[in-house]
């Protein structure tokens, strides 16, 4: 540079205001205007997306009910060293909490919470609360007399462990882990382990659906991208047509088609190909077929947009250099569709992981997916904390997969259209 600028002196405009400040002022209005335009969307996302997820995460670790109802016990038990049985003040505090809980009729609530940690806790608390008025010093003997289970230090240890405002029990349970009697984290025994199996199955079904979508969607997208605009647009409407019909209707349509007396089985029996109806529904076949049908457009659209952008003379160039059509396709065309395969695959896979209605309607008991677990916890077990914990694990799995994808393919190489 010919002009030497003194680096210690910041650049200024003609009237002496620093250049940086002047630039900021000049662009402030534009920035405000831009912010004004995105503000509604920003607020929408904040209220309906970020806030619920934060709430979900907090519910999955929420334990406030224990310190709220067993206030005195929780405070007194902190000093206990965990050996043998707790000292007298803890027993006294428990007696006071039982009296209070009986009066407020909320002892069953905390009982239910602690029952999740140790079966029998609910009955113990409710039965003891009934006799709360008759408790007197020394409370230890009095409580044990009221219910012998109080002599089991395990109940006290669980209470001490779960006395905080937060707990990790739900999340641990959602990945088939629990606390052992010594208080360390272990895997649950095989007969109680359900969640990891179902998460694994969810991922496996999602992978199957993604692969089927890719195999079916790739030729369709290729056809769409090579046809003349008029025919291409017509076919594109057929690809989008399913979006106009309710998900529920499409899924029940598959029931009509696939059931034992359904269209497909009747037709096959009618023409004499089979004698017994094929089992096409209430099993994995039904789930994969129905989910593939519903998710196929999510694969076709990104693929189509990527293929549309591939210069057709590349294939001609490859052929002119002596590559037969198969080699030209595999070495030139396919690598260029990778951004579309990545985008479509990720889209289908992530939507599949959270799928609910379709597996619930056409799947059998062996095809329960993670979302159905959440439903069971919310609507049958009424355990919202556990439902949230499963949701959090599902979210974490999705994010991990996303990160792996980003590492392998690169999010910047993805093209949605």
């Amino acid at each position: 540079m010919a002009i030497a600028t003194d680096s210690s002196q910041p650049l200024t405009t003609a009237d002496g205001t620093p250049l940086r400040q002047s630039l900021r002022r000049a662009e402030r209005l534009n920035k405000l205007r831009a912010f004004g335009l995105v503000a509604p969307l920003f607020l929408f996302i904040l209220v309906f997306f970020v806030f619920p997820i934060a709430k979900l995460a907090s519910v999955s670790v929420d334990n406030s009910i224990v310190p709220e109802i067993l206030t005195n016990t929780v405070e007194a038990i902190q000093d206990w060293d965990g050996t043998d049985l707790p000292p007298e003040p803890v027993w006294k505090a428990m007696a006071a909490d039982l009296v209070e809980g009986k009066k407020n009729r909320n002892i069953a609530k905390v009982g239910k919470r602690l029952n999740f940690e140790k079966p029998g806790f609910r009955r113990l608390l409710i039965k003891s609360a009934r006799k709360a008025d008759k408790l007197e010093a020394p409370y230890k003997e009095s409580l044990i007399k009221a219910n012998k289970k109080w002599a089991d230090p395990e109940f006290w240890r669980v209470l001490q462990r779960e006395s905080g405002d937060y707990t990790f029990s739900y999340i641990l349970r959602a990945v088939d882990m629990t606390y052992s009697e010594e208080g360390s984290v272990t895997m649950v025994d095989d007969k109680n382990a359900v969640y990891l199996d179902i998460f694994g199955r969810t991922l496996f079904i999602s992978a199957q659906v993604t692969l089927t979508c890719l195999l079916l969607g790739f030729p369709i997208a290729y056809l769409l991208s090579t046809l003349p605009a008029k025919t291409g647009n017509m076919l594109m409407i057929f690809v989008l047509l399913p979006f106009w019909i309710s998900l529920l209707v499409r899924t029940t349509a598959w029931i009509v088609l696939l059931q034992d007396q359904g269209v497909i089985n009747s037709a096959l029996i009618g023409i004499g190909v089979i004698n017994e109806p094929l089992e096409l529904i209430r099993n994995r076949v039904g789930v994969v077929v129905a989910m593939t049908h519903i998710l196929l457009p999510f694969m076709i659209l990104p693929l189509y947009s990527v293929m549309k952008g591939i210069n057709p003379s590349l294939m001609r160039a490859a052929k002119s250099m002596g590559a037969n059509p198969a080699i030209a396709f595999w070495r030139v065309y396919t690598p260029l569709t990778v951004p579309g395969i990545g985008a479509g695959g990720l889209l289908v896979f992530i939507i599949s992981i959270g799928y609910y209605i379709t597996p619930a309607l056409v799947g059998g008991p062996k095809d329960i997916m993670a979302s159905q677990l959440i439903d069971i916890q919310m609507n049958q077990q009424l355990n919202w904390n556990m439902a949230s914990a499963i949701g959090v694990v599902l979210l974490a799995i999705t994010l991990v997969l996303f990160a792996i994808y980003n590492r392998l393919v690169g999010i910047d190489r993805m093209k949605m259209g």
Partner: protein, 367 residues
């Protein structure tokens, strides 16, 4: 006509229709000599690219036969023809490096690694891009991409290379530079090249022969100088270089020349009979601007005509003078900016003159 051993490509009565109603190429008969640089020149829609695509194998002739080295290739798929091709937009594979792009035709021919590397490097050196093997096409400038495309079409040593308007996307300076480069590569390697362009200066610069296409028909096939100086018809005269047109009627003729009475009252002039005959026939007189002189002295010009100076444009090496002659106000005369050239004023009356040999009587449009 049938191709001799010297013809690498022969088109025999080739016709092409896309819709079954109109012919894009009408009865094409064309021989390409071995080692020749043949350019197909024409406006867009004239059928020249279709001819190239039929030769490359991407389009099938509707009728007729194409022979490559004496063998019919109508049923040979493109990848078995062994013809190198450079595309309009380069068509470099964006997901491969320059080196991988060049290695591609060698790999599909299953050559050894060492030989591939050797050939790739040689090809890159030939287009002065040695050391660029590891770049991606997107990291290169337009001219460099073009050179890679040329190298890729040549690396597997085809006998015949086709080029489809390869310089269309480059700016003017680069285009001229690349014209010379391709011309020199052609001279050094001795390969046959068939080149398609709509740019006449490109065609004149590079070719041994130029085929001028219009409406699916070759209007004239000749070396560049012949094409410019002796156009066969009004289309070629108008398409190649700058051309002055005067319309008239033949009033008398002999074996070589004819007398033409100009429309618009310019009098009667003599012209060479090329593509018009018969007394009373309407004809187009074609003259190159540099062959017309202003105010010729004495009998220096065989034909003279009065004209009025309409516009003077100073272009450095010459002064472009627009005059109106016999009702045509778009008549151009180039006055060389030589020592002692005539100084003209707009609006003055002058006399223009030319030799009979420089004025060609060609076909005229029907009125």
């Amino acid at each position: 006509m049938t191709g001799s051993a010297d013809n690498i490509v022969v088109f025999e009565g080739v016709q092409k229709s896309y819709d079954g109603e109109t012919l894009v190429v009408k009865d094409l008969n064309l021989d390409v000599d071995r080692g020749e640089f043949l350019t197909m020149l024409g406006p867009s829609g004239s059928g020249k690219t279709t001819v190239l695509m039929m030769l490359a194998g991407f389009e099938v002739p509707t009728h007729g036969q194409i022979l490559l080295n004496g063998t019919p290739i109508n049923n040979t798929p493109p990848h078995k023809r062994g013809i190198g091709m450079v595309f309009q937009n380069y068509a470099l594979f964006p997901h491969m490096t320059v080196g991988e792009n060049l290695a591609f035709p060698l790999e599909v021919r299953k050559m050894g690694k060492a030989e591939i590397e050797d050939r790739v490097n040689k090809a890159l050196d030939m287009v002065r891009l040695g050391g660029f093997a590891n770049r991606r096409p997107a990291q290169l400038s337009g001219g460099q991409q073009q050179r890679v495309a040329v190298a890729r079409a040549l690396v597997f040593e085809p006998e015949l290379v086709l080029m489809d308007e390869p310089l269309g996307a480059l700016d003017k300076n680069l285009r001229e530079e690349m014209q010379y480069e391709i011309k020199h590569i052609h001279e050094n390697l001795g390969v046959s090249m068939v080149y398609v362009t709509h740019d006449q200066s490109e065609a004149l610069t590079m070719s041994n022969r130029v085929a001028v296409f219009e409406d699916g028909v070759i209007q004239q096939l000749a070396p560049p100088d012949v094409l410019y100086e002796q156009p066969d018809n009004a289309f070629v005269a108008g398409f190649i270089g700058e051309n002055n047109k005067l319309y008239g009627k033949i009033v008398s003729e002999d074996d070589v020349n004819c007398k033409v009475e100009l429309e618009g009252g310019g009098g009667t002039v003599a012209a060479m009979k090329v593509n018009a005959s018969g007394v009373g026939t309407r004809t187009t007189l074609s003259m190159r601007p540099e062959r017309v002189t202003i105010n010729p002295e004495g009998n220096a010009s065989e034909n003279t005509c009065s004209a009025k100076v309409e516009e003077l444009i100073y272009l450095g090496d010459h002064i472009r003078t627009r005059v109106s002659v016999s009702g045509n106000s778009d008549f151009i005369v180039k006055i060389p900016n030589s020592h002692g050239h005539v100084i003209l004023q707009e609006g003055t009356e002058v006399t223009i003159g030319w030799q009979t040999d420089d004025c060609r009587a060609l076909d005229a449009p029907n009125v």
